[in-house]
């Protein structure tokens, strides 16, 4: 017990507090109104940190870096103001994200607030930002009720679609493959018992039936499941040619590994969030080939490929193939709207809602405050996660079926 005496502990603590106080005093001293203040609260720590650290934070940092490198945000009169960032950690707690946004608006008096990561957190701050008259560009929120929310909070913009969109697109892909005789009509589905998985599987139950598909297995597993072999065995025994998992990142990686161990080689292998991450191909190499998931990119889009290059150089890691591009495009739209109408928040919201923008996604317009030109289904092909669906849109790739058997067994 005498190893650390109370006196010593107090001394160390005192030094630490003094040091911390010194650092923070230095951090807040630069305060002059020759900049545009942009604030955001995201999950830097806690359960949501993984997703926010791949999709949201790197893009915010990249964008701020690029804008300031160019001299700052351009205003209608052609002058430029550098961005000053106020960044808070919401610690993956809904109460924290609400209070952090209140602080951004009323204490820091930021000019614009960027969206947090996650459907729930975007919804938590939406009524607040609406009341304060700030636009909300929700780039990491998947919700089927976006139209209703856009009506309720006119300054809110929803860039990532809803569960029904993704499930419906997948039904289209599978239905077509079945009609072409590539696969049988049977599908085995597993889904994570969390907001995302439930939204998608509910939509899938309807749309798959409409597409003439037959769900022969429908299992839900709790988040945090690590052993998928019983479900994989059941899917294997079901005789379905298509295996669909509406999964979260840890499950997505585990399913890929365990399907290899079980030598489970369905013609269609579809996994959820995490598949379009650069780490997925890093972990699976050639075995990623042919795996289907949400999102995807159009490799013929030069602006997008250039963005991916810049992201990799600045952050040290490539962006994911799904929500990253929408996050960055949302920032480009904000930047362009400010260039056109200035820092008046109502005018910016109005411009976002009605204007047409050139972003890394191409020509971008919002319909009822929602981005609808999205890639719903993609596939790993030759080391790139390419977009498949909607197949009639420019830049869509052809699906490759059946998926090659796992290598290196």
């Amino acid at each position: 017990m005498t190893l650390i005496s109370r006196r010593n502990a107090l001394r160390v603590l005192g030094t630490a507090v003094t040091l911390l106080a010194g650092v923070s005093a230095a951090a807040v001293s630069a305060q002059d109104r020759s900049s545009v203040k942009i604030g955001y609260a995201v999950s830097i720590t806690g359960g949501n940190a993984g997703g926010a650290g791949i999709t949201t934070i790197p893009n915010y940092r990249l964008w701020v870096h690029e804008v300031n490198e160019a001299g700052g945000l351009e205003l209608p009169d052609g002058s430029r103001l550098p961005i000053e960032v106020v960044e808070y950690d919401d610690r993956s707690s809904a109460e924290e994200v609400v209070r952090a946004v209140e602080r951004l608006v009323t204490q820091d008096e930021v000019d614009f607030v960027l969206s947090p990561w996650g459907t729930g957190f975007n919804l938590a701050v939406a009524p607040l930002l609406d009341r304060f008259g700030y636009p909300l560009i929700a780039s990491a929120a998947v919700t089927d009720r976006a139209a209703e929310f856009a009506e309720r909070w006119p300054g809110s913009f929803w860039l990532l679609g809803g569960g029904a969109d993704y499930a419906g697109a997948l039904a289209g892909v599978l239905g077509e493959a079945h009609a072409a005789g590539d696969i049988n009509a049977d599908v085995a589905i597993i889904s994570v018992a969390d907001g995302f998985g439930i939204d998608l599987v509910n939509a899938a139950r309807e749309t798959f039936a409409e597409a003439g598909l037959n769900i022969v297995m429908d299992r839900t597993y709790p988040p945090g499941t690590t052993d998928f072999s019983p479900m994989i065995n059941e899917a294997q025994a079901s005789g379905a040619d298509s295996f669909v998992a509406f999964s979260y990142p840890p499950d997505t990686f585990a399913l890929t590994q365990q399907a290899q161990v079980a030598a489970f080689n369905p013609d269609v292998f579809y996994l959820g969030v995490g598949t379009p991450f650069p780490t997925y191909i890093g972990a699976n190499g050639d075995n990623a080939e042919g795996v289907l998931s949400l999102g995807g990119i159009d490799t013929s889009n030069a602006a997008l490929m250039d963005y991916r290059q810049r992201h990799e150089e600045f952050i040290g890691q490539a962006p994911d193939f799904w929500a990253s591009q929408m996050t960055y495009a949302g920032l480009e739209m904000l930047e362009e709207a400010i260039r056109r109408v200035g820092l008046d928040r109502e005018a910016v919201a109005n411009e976002l809602s009605t204007g047409t923008f050139t972003t890394i996604l191409g020509e971008t317009t919002l319909e009822d405050n929602q981005l609808r030109d999205l890639w719903w289904t993609g596939q790993w092909q030759d080391g790139v996660f390419v977009a498949l669906e909607p197949s009639d849109r420019d830049g869509a790739s052809e699906i490759r079926l059946p998926k090659q058997p796992w290598q290196g067994q």
């Binding site: 809904a94 924290e96 919804l123 018992a193």
Partner: protein, 310 residues
């Protein structure tokens, strides 16, 4: 007697001043007061049961989440005051069932059980939502402003402190102290240990449930991962321990500085928050194991003794 009356008048005046504060503060100030009052109530309610009995409960978030979920489920079906009453009753019911089954556990077994209870409730809610209702997230569109939430929490905090004060001067409070010191002795002196513990656990849990229910309209959208966040349990424990779980004002004196400190840390050190939090936990257990109120009393006594010696 006159001292008690003066005390009540002072506390009443303080409450009035606190209730008046939102008119002087902006939205962020109200948010801060709201969060602070929420944790003061949680820590005080936690200490009602855990202070005298020394049962460290990590089940706070189980009840907190039940309260929030009740509001989410019922907010459109019945008027708001009725929703709060229902939430309180559900919390009470769960606390009685759980208490009857488990308050015979002691020490570390109870800690582990209470932590497991939070996870169990979360998984049950998830299972129900997935298999029965087929949705997971729920929306709360109640027109309740932050100031109104703050007033409700303030009222609840006052009630909690009043209950704490009443218990400390009643027979049940004396019984609790004996139980905390030695259960065997308590049983031999004729105290009905189980009933006393159960009553306290139920009161404490009901208040915690109400805190969750009152705060829920602030988030618009809830899902199990949001309302059953185990950090709430840990923060409540550490706040009560810092202030001193055995004193009426202890949990409050722990909750306010810690809440402000966390706020300051997350604003200034977003990347190091967890590390600093961990160090704080260690520091509190090492330096003020019985809480700052007890520490201040010790120092005060020592100074008095010195004076007397001279």
């Amino acid at each position: 007697m006159t001292r008690t009356i003066i005390g009540f008048v002072l506390v009443g005046l303080a409450l009035l001043a606190l209730a008046f504060m939102p008119t002087q503060l902006g939205a962020y100030g109200v948010g801060l007061l709201l969060g602070m009052t929420g944790y003061v109530t949680l820590a005080s309610a936690w200490a009602l049961f855990s202070g005298p009995t020394r049962y460290i409960s990590l089940a706070t978030v189980a009840f907190f989440g039940i309260g929030a979920y009740t509001v989410a489920v019922l907010s459109e079906a019945m008027p708001y005051p009725l929703v709060l009453v229902t939430a309180g009753l559900i919390g009470l019911g769960v606390a009685l069932v759980v208490g009857l089954a488990t308050l015979r556990l002691a020490g570390v077994y109870f800690v582990i059980f209470s932590f497991g209870l939070a996870e169990l409730v979360r998984q049950l809610v998830t299972w129900y939502e997935v298999n029965v209702t087929g949705t997971l997230g729920r929306y709360i569109f109640l027109p309740i402003s932050a100031t109104e939430i703050y007033w409700q929490l303030l009222g609840l905090a006052a009630i909690t402190l009043l209950i704490g004060w009443w218990i400390s001067r009643s027979r049940i409070g004396l019984a609790l102290k004996v139980i905390g010191d030695d259960e065997t002795v308590a049983a031999h002196t004729g105290i009905d240990i189980s009933r006393v513990k159960l009553a306290l656990f139920a009161i404490s849990a009901t208040i915690i449930t109400l805190v969750g229910a009152i705060q829920a309209p602030r988030w618009t959208y809830i899902e199990p991962a949001i309302v059953f966040n185990p950090t709430v349990s840990f923060l409540t424990v550490i706040m009560a321990l810092l202030g001193g779980a055995n004193r009426l004002w202890g949990p409050m004196l722990g909750a306010i500085p810690l809440f402000l400190l966390f706020e300051w840390l997350s604003a200034n050190f977003p990347n190091h928050y967890s590390i600093i939090l961990g160090l704080m936990f260690i520091a509190i257990v090492f330096i003020v194991p019985r809480g700052v109120v007890a520490l201040a009393e010790d120092l005060f006594k020592r100074a008095r003794r010195k004076e007397a010696a001279q």
